[in-house]
Symmetry: C2
Subunit: 246 residues, 2 copies
Amino acid sequence: MRFTSERRLDDTVLERAFTLGDIPGFLWTPVSASAAAPVPLILLSPPPLGLRRVYPRLVERARGSAADGFATATIELPGKGDRPRWPAAERAAADLRRAMEAGRPVGEEIIDALVLPLVDASAPEWRAALDAFLALPEVGGPVGYSGGVIALGTRLAVVEPRISAAVLFAGSFVPRASFEEARRVTIPLHVLLQWDDEGNDRQAALDLFDAFGSPEKTLHANMGGHTGVPPFAGEAAARFFTRHLK
Amino acid sequence: MRFTSERRLDDTVLERAFTLGDIPGFLWTPVSASAAAPVPLILLSPPPLGLRRVYPRLVERARGSAADGFATATIELPGKGDRPRWPAAERAAADLRRAMEAGRPVGEEIIDALVLPLVDASAPEWRAALDAFLALPEVGGPVGYSGGVIALGTRLAVVEPRISAAVLFAGSFVPRASFEEARRVTIPLHVLLQWDDEGNDRQAALDLFDAFGSPEKTLHANMGGHTGVPPFAGEAAARFFTRHLK
């Protein structure tokens, strides 16, 4: 991991941009974090829109998490932002768009083609990034995951034992394979669902919540569309992390 | 309202037993509440098991609410505890028990016979009790409702304009009429659902949540059975009241 820039936000948060191989990302740490006082880490998985576009949302959450005593970090998803284009993923996204614009049901093949390669490619990248973050003396465990693409969060919750609690946003398509993976998840989960999310299948989200094997799992459903998560729901998710990672 | 006994809990909460006509009940107020500093009120509607049986749960919530600066109050439901027996309600409960023990689906007639008379009889009693509570100088508004029988909470949210926010526990049968009433509810709602509640119809609870007309409504679903609401879910409900009644 190579840091490419560094600045302070409000004198309380240190923001560092980095590259990990050819993957760009950001690490935010409370300025008070040190080798003598390492802080737990929350992996902040972005929605698949490119880091530049979602940066304002991420940095707002990074500030809140730093105030709660957490480091946060994110990396660019494959095919997004400044990373090399990924023609197969773009074709799958175009197929999805056409189906939705035509008002056709979004078939399982389209969802599989859209989501599974993204999960397969990015899960190992997040694990490698986690190695790098935890090698920093000011970052310790435990590790939480807060994310974006629910199939990726599900995969990481299964394959990455260092993640001990996750906030999952039920706002993206769920491939069939994720329901099977979900049964193998055992860490505490806090699932956010926007009840009137235009592009989301509410029943699939409820079925996925039901499928998770975790003894502690909580669903917080709120009114409004995809981007309308109310502030109090964000605060509840933050309290979930404080409960499990401190 | 006639107070029949009074005692202090931990020197911080004043517990008063009362009768309102022939209806027994309890009022809990922070000892710091006064005419000069009246506190908001939460109506604590009990599950239909008789106040004596649920007293430990109620008093625990009353203590927590008092610490948050709220008065709480409850009254006995008709046909329960020391109130006169209600043969029709007992027959409906027996019909329900037989259907469940035989593994038969619980028909709409059984649910209507069990729940609607209870709602029709008790809603006016809660409104009369609210008159009495608000006549006390140490109790002010706004008023919240936290309850037990979700059809009763739905009715009161429609007919009682002094209730400005409600926590509803989706743990009892929902008569058809409640879905229609739910569309007319507009106050902020916080709905608790135990995902594996043995005696509860999860789909009916989700449908009722969907039906509520409130622009702000939140569903908190947690693992476990009917009485297994985790402590953090109770704390989240308390924060909902603090957000809306303070």
